[in-house]
């Protein structure tokens, strides 16, 4: 017993406070980013385009069948305009979660989100 009891409690307090601050800080840092989502778009020629959902862009994909405009905004990807007959790809709206898809059948175009990291759901259940 080299230290008095009170001194130990002070050390405890420092240790616990340090761990608490580190933990809260890491939670905030982890939540702040949360991104890393990547979407791939495959057109009727089999060409694959990759979009980072953290960067807002608009991209026009044109093939023999027609055009689709892909827009990335605030972590979501959508088809904002197309000249296909039913425009259901536009009506499918914005997607952002891993595994979600937008499909344009007339233009044989598929938009798919594949995230780099498993932050939302993963295949292992406890």
């Amino acid at each position: 017993m080299s230290l008095s009891r009170d001194k130990r409690y002070v050390n405890d307090f420092i240790l616990i406070a340090a761990a608490l601050i580190l933990g809260v800080l890491l939670v905030f840092l982890g939540n702040r980013k949360g991104g890393g989502q990547i979407a791939t778009v495959t057109d009727s020629n089999g060409q694959i385009y990759t979009f980072n959902l953290d960067e807002n862009t608009e991209f026009r994909i044109e093939t023999d069948l027609g055009y689709n405009i892909i827009s990335v905004k605030d972590g979501n990807i959508s088809v904002s305009d197309a000249d296909c007959p039913d425009c259901s790809c536009v009506k499918q709206g914005e997607i952002s979660k891993k595994g979600e898809k937008i499909v344009c059948l007339p233009h044989k175009l598929i938009v798919e989100v594949n995230s780099e990291d498993n932050t939302d759901l993963d295949s292992i259940t406890y």
Binding site: N11, A19, L20, N118
Partner: protein
């Protein structure tokens, strides 16, 4: 080992097993898988503070094996072994270091326990869950460790003079 000591450790193991069972009845998780109260660590902490580190380790390992067979599975046993050995090692060294009360020792033990389990989990699952879970497991380990530490500290301060008799018996 003297008979009385064997009896004492048998009692301790028994209490640890019952605490492990009670723990399964208490819902405590916040939706994060793998979070437990760690009540059995109370017993390990008390034996450690009776200056019986070897015995504390034996009780800890025996508890993990028995709990694994009774309530768990092989995989839960692997997790428990990783967490148990790592947290024991950490608590033992921190106690030898002699700068912290049982509260601090138990808090760090709780954190390290979760880190050990997370290491095994990230080795098995092979995705980068480590970075994602780390902060949450750190906080939950701190919380449960602190809780156990406060209870353990009270018990050690009040009863160690009676319990020490078993050690010298």
């Amino acid at each position: 080992m003297k008979t009385k000591r064997i009896v004492f450790l048998g009692f301790a193991l028994c209490i640890a097993l019952v605490l492990s069972y009670i723990e399964t009845l208490i819902p405590f998780g916040f939706g994060i898988p793998g979070i437990k109260l760690g009540l059995a660590n109370l017993i390990i902490l008390i034996i450690l503070y009776l200056d019986m580190p070897k015995e504390a380790f034996i009780v800890s390992m025996a508890r993990i094996i028995l709990v694994g067979f009774m309530f768990g599975s092989l995989s839960s046993m692997i997790y428990a072994f990783a967490g148990g050995t790592l947290s024991f090692l950490c608590m033992y060294l921190l106690k030898r270091f002699n700068r912290f009360s049982p509260i601090g020792v138990s808090s760090l033990g709780g954190i390290v326990h979760n880190m050990g389990q997370l290491m095994v989990a990230s080795f098995i699952v092979k995705t980068d869950i480590f970075a994602f879970y780390f902060p949450y497991l750190l906080l939950s380990g701190l919380l449960t460790g602190l809780l156990i530490g406060v209870i353990g500290n009270t018990i050690i301060n009040r009863y160690s003079k009676y319990l020490v008799k078993w050690r010298e018996a």
